[in-house]
């Protein structure tokens, strides 16, 4: 009995949804959309600029790598000299 009445209520409630009317879209909608599309085009960065920026970053990175490599080489040679001095000292003890 309870189920029957619940079912009736459910069907009734869903029938109410069928009474919802279709309404017209706001008249200014098209102008607003064109404005949004225009704004997006303004914000759009062309692929030419993206490629130029990527190339500049790549050049900077490779330049930095070269610079680091050169610095490491010179510190290595300092260490070599130091080691040689040390080994010479060891030799002198013998």
């Amino acid at each position: 009995m309870k189920d029957k009445s619940s079912k009736y209520v459910m069907e009734d409630q869903l029938q109410i949804l069928e009474n919802i009317k279709k309404v017209e879209a706001p008249s200014e909608l098209y102008a607003q959309i064109l404005g949004k599309i225009g704004d997006q085009k303004k914000d759009f960065v062309s692929s030419k600029w993206i490629l130029t920026a990527a190339a500049a970053i790549l050049i900077l990175i490779s330049f930095n790598i070269k610079l680091i490599e050169n610095t490491e080489d010179s510190s290595k040679s300092d260490f070599g000299t130091l080691f040689m001095v040390k080994s010479q000292n060891t030799f002198s003890y013998e």
């Binding site: 079912k7 209520v9 459910m10 109410i16 009317k21 279709k22 879209a25 706001p26 949004k36």
Partner: protein
């Protein structure tokens, strides 16, 4: 088909569908704007794998669901600061209910049923909206949702069961 022609042919459909999801004119307007911006961007890539109407339906459904997800997460953040036992119910209540398609005499009842529909999982919510409010056939709904007719029927039955459960819960709460 030009963008302008598409707009004038489908603006009412898009706006009304967004309105069924949000039950608010401002939100529906925002969604409709986003939908047509997306259409203008994707129109060149549209392959006639489905009809234009189905394609626009799908864009509108996805945009509406994304909009609600982001709106609810903002709401959750706000209510999280003042969390209490009624938190979950309040989250789905159409506080800003403003649906011009609902007649005044039925506003209370429709508001109540929408508050339950808003609690349904997205696919069940979409099935109820497309079948019951938009008046699409089961075949049309299946095509829009990219499902079989059987799956749509099962979704709708589950939605009805869930709605009934929520209605009964509310009745007991009111007693």
């Amino acid at each position: 088909m030009s963008f302008e022609l598409i707009f004038y042919q489908y603006q009412k459909m898009v706006y009304n569908l967004a309105l069924q999801y949000t039950q608010n004119t401002e939100d529906a307007e925002e969604i409709a704007q986003d939908v047509f911006v997306k259409i203008s961007q994707k129109l060149d890539g549209f392959k006639n794998e489905s009809s234009l109407k189905t394609w626009i339906y799908r864009i509108t459904i996805n945009t509406s669901l994304d909009f609600l997800k982001s709106k609810n997460s903002k709401k959750r953040f706000f209510f999280g600061l003042f969390r209490d036992s009624d938190h979950e119910n309040r989250q789905n209540e159409p506080i800003d209910f403003n649906h011009p398609g609902v007649v005044l005499e039925q506003k209370e009842e429709v508001m109540k049923i929408f508050s339950f529909i808003n609690m349904l999982p997205n696919d069940q919510k979409t099935a109820v909206i497309l079948l019951k409010i938009e008046g699409n056939s089961q075949q049309e709904t299946a095509e829009i949702m990219n499902l079989s007719q059987k799956a749509v029927e099962s979704l709708f039955q589950r939605a009805k069961k869930n709605l009934l459960q929520k209605l009964n819960q509310q009745k007991e709460y009111e007693r």
